[in-house]
Symmetry: C2
Subunit: 235 residues, 2 copies
């Protein structure tokens, strides 16, 4: 089933955005009367039918508005230092969208090898993943900020920092409790500096381990995301 | 710390395989006396020192033989239908190696879009991931076989099939018990056919869900792998 994205779409007659129209009419060669699915990225899915096959502004009719399956009763955010290789970051964003995440925050850190991020490109990766996995909610990617600025951003819930330090004994999977809002900070290749980790702790972040395995930055970010989702999934 | 791979290495004087020698002497420009780490892919790590900087057969001395941190008391295998895009399969193999897996089995299935696999290439991806994540054990990738043949292969432990069917109510994270050997079958894009799923069940495979999220094949394979590792990691 093809899925199209129309921000804040609602039931009734509307048009597909230009890019989506092109994809629908030119690429997929859909004809009037063809049916597909629409997500509004804000929690709802719709049945859609093409009523006017214009290549730049395809007219469609939306019906059967329903909440998506991707509703969870908690807020899950991962804050990560962008990896040196962009493709690894984009891979994380795609997989986190599939598994389920609310927001990704980006920060630069003492050991960061990358100090710029194409947030628009990152958001596009998440839109594609949302459509592919038939999600109704589009995760948000925040602009890149300094680590100090990140720590000052408000967050209502458990705050964790995944820190690769021998002295960190509590594991995320043991201290996180089902239903809690959570944000997990994931450091760059080379990890957080001790000063950064200690600063985070003074701001209320609990140091946690993700286990014994030595994980790449993007793998650690995904493991943290799946750990929280899995604990909430368990009966 | 640089890690090199010498199959079945042991303490004492030895030489690096040709490719590893080239990487050590030509690429990394190591000099006699330089130190690094060696994994034998069979559970052990060693301290190593370069004693003879030959570009094709570098002489090294191994000491301090020790078991790697990647020892778990159970067998974890994922059997997966190779994805249409090879890079998605290679991504899964890299990440599964980082997170921890013993064996990957490959099979063709009714809905498989890819019916060939470069196992040698896949194994190389896992060698690179093993070295990068300082693992002491190299996961095995088996040759591609038919689904019917796969089901006949012996396995001592819990056997699961991740089947996307509304009637499947038990989740892997609820039915898998810490310490159990487990193999999880992951279907291709398009999932298993009903006949395949039913055939697997007659062979003792328990149908399980990985949750509500609609996951790509390679994501489902990684989620199954991490689910088993996480349950074993919990205190």
């Amino acid at each position: 089933m093809n899925v199209f994205y129309i921000p804040s779409a609602d039931t009734g007659l509307t048009v597909l955005p230009e890019e989506e129209s092109k994809h629908c009419v030119k690429v997929l060669r859909m004809k009037e009367g063809d049916r597909f699915c629409v997500t509004n990225g804000a929690g709802y899915l719709f049945d859609a039918v093409l009523v006017d096959a214009l290549p730049k502004r395809a007219g469609i009719e939306l019906s059967n508005k329903r909440a998506g399956y991707d509703q969870w009763g908690f807020q899950l955010e991962i804050a990560v230092a962008p990896t040196k290789l962009n493709e690894r970051m984009e891979w994380f964003l795609e997989k986190a969208t599939e598994i389920g995440i609310d927001r990704v925050r980006l920060f630069t850190s003492f050991h960061s090898e990358r100090r710029a991020a194409n947030v628009e490109r990152f958001q596009k990766v998440m839109v594609a993943a949302m459509k592919q996995s038939m999600k109704s909610r589009l995760p948000v990617v925040e602009e890149l900020v300094s680590f100090e600025k990140l720590l000052k951003q408000p967050f209502e819930g458990r705050k964790f920092i995944a820190w690769i330090d021998g002295s960190v004994t509590s594991q995320l999977c043991d201290v996180y409790r089902k239903g809690e809002n959570a944000i997990v900070l994931i450091g760059p290749e080379g990890d957080f500096s001790r000063e950064e980790a200690e600063l985070a702790m003074t701001q209320g972040f609990e140091p946690v381990s993700l286990g014994d395995a030595r994980l790449r930055t993007e793998t650690a970010a995904l493991v943290a995301c799946h750990t929280v989702q899995l604990i909430n999934q368990m009966r």
